[in-house]
Symmetry: C2
Subunit: 388 residues, 2 copies
């Protein structure tokens, strides 16, 4: 009875907030979707009386299921996907060509312009991506001055459970994102804080601080957290400048080491990132070989031209940097690459060069593309290797 | 040239991540949308070759513009809305009956299941909702134990700029949300931290800590921040229990006063919320009349039956509570209500009762419904009244 009153009032409220079409779509119905079955198959259902073609598109493996056309029966479109690997996935509906969120689901993540639903197929392998009953670290969303970029910028800092009530100092992982992303994507889509909570709670990883910056040097903060009239030049286009890398070394690391209880030495600094962040990870650790003892390059290889734009690539200079890095003896140099990544060949070149100069690395190659399923898995894999 | 390489690589990346239909929709085009004109009109454009009917639906004033059918020309739907009041707005497209985000825009906010785009029409009146070049406070997303609910729960804490580098103690505002919402909506849709940054920077409001909890007692955290297999009973249906109110008093306030530098007395505690949060604000301040000197009830009036479910409403008990509250001399008792709010009549009844018993209040009535434009404005109005 309580609940009926509640639903009645909620319905009135919704009716006032939007129009009848949208309300009909959002009113709780008997439509269960997505329905995740014990065998790892997923049934998607969407009520779309006027649509002609609906595709459910998701990041699941195997790839053969990635885009499945749904079958219309009366006004409901339906498709069964899988069985899929037990993991966290992004998905969306493409209704007559338009990408659309699942209208009955409030689980939404964002990486740049990519706003999609998320689902988790429960199982042993996906447990690390779940919010479990373990101690949770805190997140701080802060602004810091970046003199080298002449800007105030926003970043996210994960503090492991117990930080506030202890007097300990902690190691720090700097975690970089890809082109088009921002300081929110490793939390929204990457579940970095949840992965860290779980790995730390199980003892698989050491307690650490994780720092997530905005890797586009012209962009001080994520959308809606910067002035709405600010025009932002394209993210990945700015990769070649080296400016973000400079700000990391001159501004971010010193700020973190001043404002948090941090073990401020190379043995307690890790640096990793995917795609553009993997490029920046290389640039930073190549130019500052003694700064980080733990280095992780995700889904990125050797770029001798394209991503460097007008700047000249010099193999001699690169080799000299790598020799200095070998001298500095990184504790872990880790590389992860998906077999179907469009940057796969660049990874082959990078490893060939490292083999040539004698830089030792750990290499993980997975069934995957240039995607968040890989990046979450890489973080889960790299984090336990750090600070041991 | 740099940029062209970047776009090339980005395009390859996008192609791999989704299918061609969605890619075509998301590929940067010449389509400018929304285009906000200096006179306060907005042109919306959407490429949807296969759609029959598209409506752009937004929260703007005047209300006559709220749902506007777009006109199709070739494959582009277009509509001009306004001129609208200079404010921040939520909007979405309804494509053949399905609510859809603007596929070219990454500005998205969420309140419960309501996931929509946001835009800001620039102007003097909307400047308080903008990220301006002022000192920014920090946000802490933390978990706290709630013994009275037998759960660990997530909340958001805004710390004013300068908190970390000072030794001062600060007053605290507890800010509650509506039914269906969670601990993220006052930040995502409500822009509470941005409003606070601006009001504090201009001197209009005192520096204060703002605490945003999850008001649904059965729900420990927002979607994707709780276990995905957890089944959650409906939010607003739980309003009648009084359990959240108990946890605020017994768990939240003591936790905040223990873990932050807080002026822990009634003169430095404010409590406010909208809709369900306005009901909870009444319940908490009625049952604990000496606890908060600043009380704000947004978009909520007197509920003698429906929202109380099976529990009996006793006017005698209510009046006795209000008399105790009068005795406790609140510094500010503030009420805000939109003229077209579906709860307007309940507000009339509440004010009549307050007049009858002699509880003084400040009343603001605005052109508005039960909506975020009102709630952001109420926060902007109420915050400067606190702790003066």
């Amino acid at each position: 009875m309580k609940k009926n009153f509640g639903i009645l009032i909620l319905s009135c409220l919704l009716l006032l907030l939007t129009n009848a079409d949208a309300l009909a779509q959002r009113t709780p119905s008997n439509l269960v979707s997505p329905e995740i079955h014990p065998d790892g198959t997923i049934t998607f259902r969407l009520k779309a009386p006027n649509a002609r073609k609906v595709v459910v598109s998701g990041t699941w493996s195997p790839k053969s299921f990635r885009s499945v056309e749904m079958v219309k029966k009366d006004s409901i479109f339906e498709a069964v996907v899988g069985p899929v690997v037990r993991d966290a996935y992004e998905y969306e509906y493409i209704i007559d060509g338009i990408p659309t969120l699942d209208p009955n689901v409030n689980l939404v993540t964002r990486d740049g312009a990519w706003i999609q639903n998320m689902l988790i197929v429960p199982g042993e392998a996906s447990k690390v991506y779940e919010v479990n009953d373990v101690p949770h670290g805190s997140l701080q969303t802060i602004w810091y001055p970046s003199p080298s970029l002449n800007a105030n910028r926003r970043m996210q800092v994960y503090l492991p459970a117990g930080y506030e009530d202890s007097k300990d100092s902690y190691p720090v992982m700097y975690l970089l994102h890809g082109g088009g992303g921002d300081e929110e994507c490793w939390l929204s889509r990457g579940r970095a804080n949840i992965i860290a909570d779980n790995l730390i709670a199980s003892g698989a990883a050491k307690k650490m601080i994780i720092v997530i910056t905005n890797g586009n040097f012209q962009t001080p903060a994520a959308p809606l957290n910067r002035n709405s009239t600010m025009s932002i030049a394209g993210g990945i286009g700015a990769m070649a400048s080296g400016k973000f890398e400079e700000s990391m070394v001159k501004d971010v690391v010193p700020f973190i080491e001043k404002h948090y209880r941090v073990k401020a030495d190379p043995q307690h600094r890790a640096l990793t990132g995917f795609s553009m962040g993997g490029f920046q990870t290389q640039n930073i650790s190549n130019a500052n070989p003694t700064m980080f003892k733990y280095i992780g390059v995700m889904s990125m290889g050797l770029f001798s031209s394209a991503l460097r734009g007008a700047s000249d690539y010099s193999k001699d200079k690169h080799v000299a940097q790598l020799k200095a890095l070998i001298q500095a003896k990184p504790a872990v140099y880790w590389i992860g690459m998906g077999k179907d990544d469009f940057l796969y060949d660049s990874g082959v070149k990078l490893r060939a060069l490292y083999d040539e100069v004698g830089l030792h690395y750990t290499y993980v190659e997975n069934e995957g593309t240039h995607d968040w399923n890989s990046w979450r898995m890489y973080l889960k894999t790299f984090m336990p290797l750090c600070f041991q």
